[in-house]
C-alpha cells in the first residue's frame, strides 16, 4: 500500500478516516517479538503458562483490524533492538521507550503508552521520600538494568547525568535489582507503577513505593528501518485510541489483573 496520510497526526485525523478505512494487509503474517518478562505488558501467566499482557492484546487487535496474522516469537531484551533492526522480526515490543538514539537504529510507531517511573524502596526506609532527597545523600545507591529506561531515568532525572556514576549498581534483570534492594545492597529501584505493585505484593511487608512519578516516557513499537508496517500500525493505533480500546486495555491490565 501507499503512504498513509500523516501517521500520528492526532485523534482528529484518525477519527476522520474511521475503522473501516484502515489498510488491508491481505492476511499477511507479521512476525512479532517480545520477551515475556515485563508484567503486565508481556508475561507468562504463572497459573496457566499462557503468554499474555497488554502488548499481546494490543498487537493482536491491530493485526485483526489490518487483516493480518501474528506469528509471536521470543527474544531477550539484550537482542531485541538489534534483531529487529536486522530484519529478524517485523515488529518488536517490550515497553521500549522512544529515544532519539534508538530512532537512528529502528523505526518507531506512534507512542501507545505513557509510562512513569516510581521509586521502590524497603518498607522501613526513612532517609528519603523523594528524588531530591535521594540525590542529596551520597551514601544512597540505586539499582538499575543497563540500557533500560530505569537506568536513564536514574542518571538523568534523579542523579547528575553521569552514566558512570558510582551510585548506580547495574544488574541483569529486574528480579536481581529488587533482590539487591531487599538485601540492602541498594536503597532504591526505579520502576513503573504496575511492576512496583507486583513486587510490593510479592514481598509483603518488605517493600513500598514512595514519591511522585519521575521521567515520563513514551513506549512505541519498533520496526526495521523503512518498514512498510509503520503506517498501518499507526493508523490502527489511532483507531483503537479513538474507539476507547486502548483505555479498556489499560483498565484490564493495570487495574483488574491481579498477578
Amino acid at each position: 500500500g501507499g503512504k498513509e496520510p500523516a501517521a500520528g497526526s492526532g485523534p482528529a485525523a484518525a477519527a476522520a478516516i474511521g475503522a473501516s478505512g484502515l489498510p488491508d494487509l491481505g492476511g499477511r503474517v507479521i512476525v512479532a517479538v517480545t520477551e515475556n518478562a515485563y508484567t503486565p505488558l508481556n508475561f507468562v501467566d504463572p497459573k496457566t503458562g499462557k503468554a499474555m499482557g497488554w502488548e499481546y492484546d494490543a498487537v493482536n487487535e491491530i493485526a485483526r483490524r489490518l487483516n493480518a496474522k501474528v506469528d509471536w516469537q521470543l527474544s531477550s531484551w539484550d537482542l531485541m533492538i538489534q534483531s529487529v533492526r536486522d530484519g529478524q522480526f517485523d515488529v518488536g515490543m517490550d515497553g521500549i521507550t522512544i529515544t532519539d538514539e534508538r530512532k537512528k537504529q529502528v523505526d518507531f510507531s506512534d507512542p501507545y503508552m505513557v509510562s512513569q517511573q516510581f521509586m521502590l524502596v524497603r518498607a522501613d526506609e526513612k532517609r528519603f521520600s523523594d528524588a531530591a532527597a535521594f540525590a542529596a545523600d551520597p551514601k544512597l545507591l540505586v539499582g538499575a538494568q543497563a540500557g533500560t529506561t530505569n537506568f536513564y531515568v536514574a542518571v538523568y532525572e534523579v542523579l547528575d547525568g553521569d552514566e558512570q556514576n558510582k551510585r548506580i549498581k547495574l544488574f541483569e534483570t529486574f528480579g536481581a535489582t529488587v533482590q539487591a534492594l531487599i538485601a540492602g545492597d541498594v536503597d532504591m529501584v526505579l520502576m513503573d507503577a504496575a511492576s512496583s505493585k507486583g513486587y510490593v505484593g510479592a514481598n509483603p511487608g518488605k517493600l513500598k513505593s514512595v514519591g511522585g512519578p519521575l521521567g515520563t516516557e513514551e513506549f512505541g513499537f519498533i520496526f526495521p528501518p523503512g518498514s512498510d508496517l509503520v503506517g498501518p500500525f499507526n493508523a490502527a493505533l489511532a483507531s483503537m485510541k479513538a474507539d476507547g480500546t486502548l483505555d479498556r486495555l489499560n483498565t484490564k491490565w493495570f487495574f483488574e489483573y491481579q498477578p
Partner: protein, 272 residues
C-alpha cells in the same frame, strides 16, 4: 546372620554424600510441592526441561561429529590440515561461550544464509527453492549452532588426547602387518581412543547441559529463560532460582554418577 552382614557391607559401600544430597533434594522437593507458589514455578520451569535437554543433546551430538573430524585433522600427518584445525580450536577455545553465542546469532546466521543462497543460486533462480533468510534460522537453532561450534573445539582436544594416549606399539604392530595409515587409524587407534576418552566425553555432556543455560540470552525458552520470565511475572526471584538449581542438579548429578560408574567399569576392565 549372613544376610545382616551382607546388608552391612552394602551399606558401608554407599557414599554418604550421595545419601545426603538425595535426601536434601527429596526434602526440597517435598516442601516445594506442598507450597502452592512453588508448585506453580515447578510446573512452569519443567516446561523448559525439554528445551534444555533438546538443545544440549542436539549440540552435543553435532559437536561430537565435528570434534571427531577436528581431532583427526589435529593429529593428521598433513600439515595444512593440522594447522587449520589448530587455528580453529585455539580461536574458539579462547572465547567466552557468551561471546560466541552473540557472534553466531548476529554474524554467523546471516552469513550462513548468504552462503546457502550462493550454493543454491541456480535452484533459487529456477524457482525450485526459496532464497534463505537469516530469519529462517530460529534463535534456538543459532544457539545450538554456537554451542556446537564452541564445544567441538573442546571435544576435538579430547579426541586428540585419546588418539595420543593409544600406545605407539599398537600403531607399529598395525603397520608391521601391512595396514595402511587410514586402516590403522580406523580399526586400531580410534576404537581404543574412544574407549579411553569416554568418561571425558561424558563430562563434556554435563558441561554442555550447564552451558546451555547461556542460550537464555538469546531468549530461547530453556530452564534458565523460563525461570527468568517467571521470576519477572511472579516477582519471586529466589523461589524461582531454587527451582532452576534443583533441575540442573538433578540432571548433572545423576549424569556425573553415571560417568563415575563408567570410569570405574573401564578401570576394572583395563585392570583385568
Amino acid at each position: 546372620m549372613t544376610n545382616g552382614r551382607r546388608a552391612a557391607r552394602i551399606a558401608a559401600g554407599v557414599p554418604w554424600w550421595l545419601v545426603l544430597l538425595v535426601g536434601l533434594g527429596a526434602i526440597a522437593l517435598g516442601t516445594a510441592l506442598a507450597d502452592a507458589s512453588y508448585r506453580v514455578i515447578f510446573g512452569a520451569v519443567a516446561r523448559g526441561f525439554g528445551v534444555t535437554i533438546g538443545v544440549a543433546l542436539a549440540s552435543y551430538a553435532a559437536s561430537l561429529a565435528l570434534g571427531l573430524l577436528l581431532g583427526l585433522a589435529r593429529s593428521s600427518r598433513l600439515r595444512p590440515l593440522r594447522e587449520a584445525s589448530t587455528f580453529y580450536i585455539e580461536l574458539v577455545r579462547g572465547l567466552p561461550m557468551l561471546v560466541i553465542l552473540y557472534y553466531i546469532a548476529f554474524v554467523g546466521a546471516p552469513a550462513l544464509a548468504e552462503v546457502l543462497n550462493g550454493l543454491l543460486a541456480p535452484l533459487i533462480r529456477a524457482g525450485a527453492v526459496k532464497a534463505f533468510q537469516a530469519r529462517d534460522f530460529s534463535f534456538a537453532t543459532r544457539a545450538g549452532l554456537a554451542l556446537t561450534l564452541g564445544y567441538a573445539a573442546f571435544i576435538a582436544e579430547i579426541f586428540r588426547a585419546g588418539i595420543e594416549s593409544v600406545d605407539k606399539g599398537q600403531i607399529e604392530a598395525a603397520h608391521a602387518l601391512g595396514l595402511s595409515h587410514s586402516q590403522t587409524m580406523l580399526r586400531v587407534v580410534l576404537p581404543q581412543a574412544v574407549k579411553n576418552v569416554l568418561p571425558a566425553l561424558a563430562n563434556e555432556f554435563v558441561a554442555i547441559i550447564k552451558d546451555s543455560a547461556l542460550v537464555s540470552v538469546l531468549g530461547v525458552q530453556d530452564i534458565t529463560q523460563i525461570g527468568k520470565v517467571y521470576a519477572a511475572s511472579t516477582f519471586k526471584f529466589f523461589e524461582t532460582y531454587n527451582v532452576v538449581a534443583f533441575f540442573y542438579l538433578c540432571m548433572t548429578v545423576s549424569l556425573s554418577m553415571l560417568v563415575r560408574a563408567l570410569e570405574r567399569r573401564l578401570k576394572r576392565e583395563n585392570a583385568r
